[in-house]
Amino acid sequence: MTKPKQLLEDNVGKKVLLLANESIARGVLEAGVRLVALYPGTPSSEIGDNLTFMAPHIPNFYFEFSTNEKVAMEVAGAAAVAGVRSMMVCKGPGLNVAADPFFSLAYVGIRGAMVIVVADDPSMWSSQNENDSRYYALMGNMPLVEPSDPAEAKSMLLEAYEISEKLELPILFRTTTRVNHTRSPVTFGPIRDRPKTIEFVKEPFRFVPIPSVARVRHPWLLKQMELAMEISESTKLNFITGSGSLGIITSGVSYNYVVEALSTLDIDAETLKLGMTHPVPEKMISKFLKRHKQVVIVEELDPFLETHARRIAQLNEIKVDILGKEQGFFPRILEYNPRIVIEALSKILNRNTSINWKAIDQKASEISGLPPRPPLLCAGCPHRATYYAIRVATRGKAIYPSDIGCYTLSIAPPLETADILFDMGSSVTTACGLAEVTDQDIVATIGDSTFFAAGLPGIANAVYNQHRISLVILDNRTTAMTGHQPHPGTGVTGMQEKVPPLNIAKVCKGLGVEYVKTINPFASLADLVAAVREMTTWTRENHKPSVLVSIAPCALLEAAERRKTGKVPQPYYVDSELCNSCKRCLNRLSCPAMYLDTKTGQAVIDQTMCNYCGTCVAVCPQGAIKQEDA
């Protein structure tokens, strides 16, 4: 890993290519942040991935992978209350998990400074919804800052800490996938020192929001937001570029599309780019609206700025056409691109688009019937073996509550073992609900990291309320989906220290689960099937929860290990003498390393993709899949 090392360089003025997430990690150093706590979530994951490697090399710095976002918010919140600079990072749905402390933090405020980075995911590249976190700022009365690219991700982060310190309030720092996962040149600034420790000065009648305290804090918060408004009016985060009769108000990544669209269409416009989007600068916007007959609002997802603009126009009796989502010029779903802005501006200005996209769309629609290529469980993924066994053992007839992680991909044929999912941890709890109103068998699955993040209360619930659920815990020794971060079961911390790992089976027993077994999914497929069958039978007979922990490391970890050690097992192959073209392996297991040779009609293993798990060997009824002898 060269990146985290590079991010540590004390080299002011150096220009490097950074992902916005890397830029934020660098910003942590430049802002003198003392503590960062987070639970990984794409599109924000690389912030933690870099910080964990940087952390041991930064004096007076603490970084942790918290067990979930609520925990992270509280850990970081307390540090800021004590008086240092802290940061919490999460993806959009993660802020929902952390909503409770989020609202309290605004009431009690902080003595140091705190930034809450939330990465929204328009287009849902890796999330279960595209909800718009800006409304948290509105609802919770917390200032909101939105960068538009990797350079701003750092410069605005530094500014956010200054604002936070002034207001004694955390700042919500909202990014979107196209900001987080854009790479562009970023210039390093000076690194700021951090205090070793500080003293926590007690002030319970501020920091313990019992009703009598909260009643005092709410008006305080509203007053702070008035100060925040003054900052919003004067900060350089809100600025105007260009001139022209047309007005545009925009923020975040959309700003780039506006700049590109104006240049492509070669039109003049005055653009108000808002970096601080709560509270919006009312006077600035009011003046801007007064200057124009038409103002176009360009923002992804919900009409947040648009609603503000309409409100401000109404309050100030400004006659102006505000054009945005309400009239259908812009969509409320999915991410934007220059094309969307070009098309909307062309429509508003009654001119042709720069490119004939209709013709391109037409031609593209003529290319149909391409085989789909959705994401899949990797070749050699231990989850494939486990799900195969669950399906065989239950003949596909049980209900399969799923959870959040790579394993949700088991929704696809032929595994088809994901039937219901709400959020992190919901496998266990939806199973509880289903168990009471159906008489079908229920086999829920949850990953190891998700187990610690959100599975524990559900398991306690299942034990307490005696729900007849079978829970298979897919322990692949990492948080695979988001890029292999450690968790409480791995024995490695965010500071890269070795600690005693929490043992999932013991935790389940400790929670009162009577039936807890552990298995290696690659040891014997027949045993795995038998184990699932046994647990479902036990659950049915005892009307209590049962747990099977299926432990084998993620295939990507195994592959990385092989590359490191250079030790490669003997290759697997299909013996063409024995293969009778039944295609059972392809149709039931569908490992991406196997494909059909259309000439011979037989299955073939792609040696460059095989991860040597051996599962396919047991699936073949002919014994045609073999491992070469050493």
Partner: protein
């Protein structure tokens, strides 16, 4: 779009090294003092699914997104994945197409069929006639590793002469990014890719 910006779209399958290629290209561009943007998608998309990455080089690049019909160069790691993104290419834009097929699982399961090569080429021809086809997988193995597939494509991109990136900057970026262990294979692959495309273009 902007004439002072080169738009590159890279399309392939998760695990083929699409993201890494984009990063190397951008590093090389930056080291030659060009403005650059890379757009990537992580997470779900990586698990063997279709992956698209964009690289934009030049003063006009602000955001990471390349609109349909505006790519100067479409770099296809796999035939079907190239055709899937063919609408991105601008008229007379150049398509690099590696002919090595990686069958989607739906095809292996007999639930979908893989289009014959002619259909793929005809499909791309609806958008541009400038198609350079070669088997980058065979070349990568010849260079020393199937994992050097993206390095073949890197060389091929330089070979088109459509970007301001020099072979030297690209090789320096490769040197600075990967371990010494694979350096000679990677550099060999870059050179092979460049030569291949220069010959095809002749």
């Amino acid at each position: 779009m902007k004439s002072n910006t080169v738009n590159i779209v890279i399309s392939g399958v998760g695990g083929q090294g699409v993201l890494t290629l984009a990063e190397i290209l951008a590093k090389a561009a930056l080291s030659d003092s060009h403005n650059v943007r890379v757009g990537e998608i992580h997470g779900m998309a990586q698990r063997g699914g279709h992956v698209v990455c964009t690289v934009r080089i030049g003063a006009g690049a602000r955001g990471p997104i390349v609109d349909p019909g505006t790519a100067d160069l479409l770099v296809g790691f796999e035939p079907v994945e190239t055709l899937r993104e063919a609408h991105m290419i601008r008229e007379d834009g150049c398509v690099l197409l590696s002919s090595h097929i990686q069958y989607p699982v739906a095809v292996s399961m007999g639930k979908a069929s893989y289009p014959p090569n002619k259909e793929i080429i005809d499909g791309i021809r609806k958008f541009t006639n400038h198609i350079l086809e070669f088997d980058a997988m065979v070349m990568a193995k010849e260079a020393g590793s199937s994992r050097a597939l993206n390095m073949i494509m890197l060389g091929a991109i330089i070979g088109t002469g459509l970007t301001p990136i020099t072979e030297k900057a690209a090789i320096d970026a490769v040197r600075n990014t990967f371990s010494k262990k694979f350096e000679s294979i990677n550099i060999k692959a870059v050179k092979m890719g460049r030569k291949k495309v220069e010959n095809l273009n002749r």
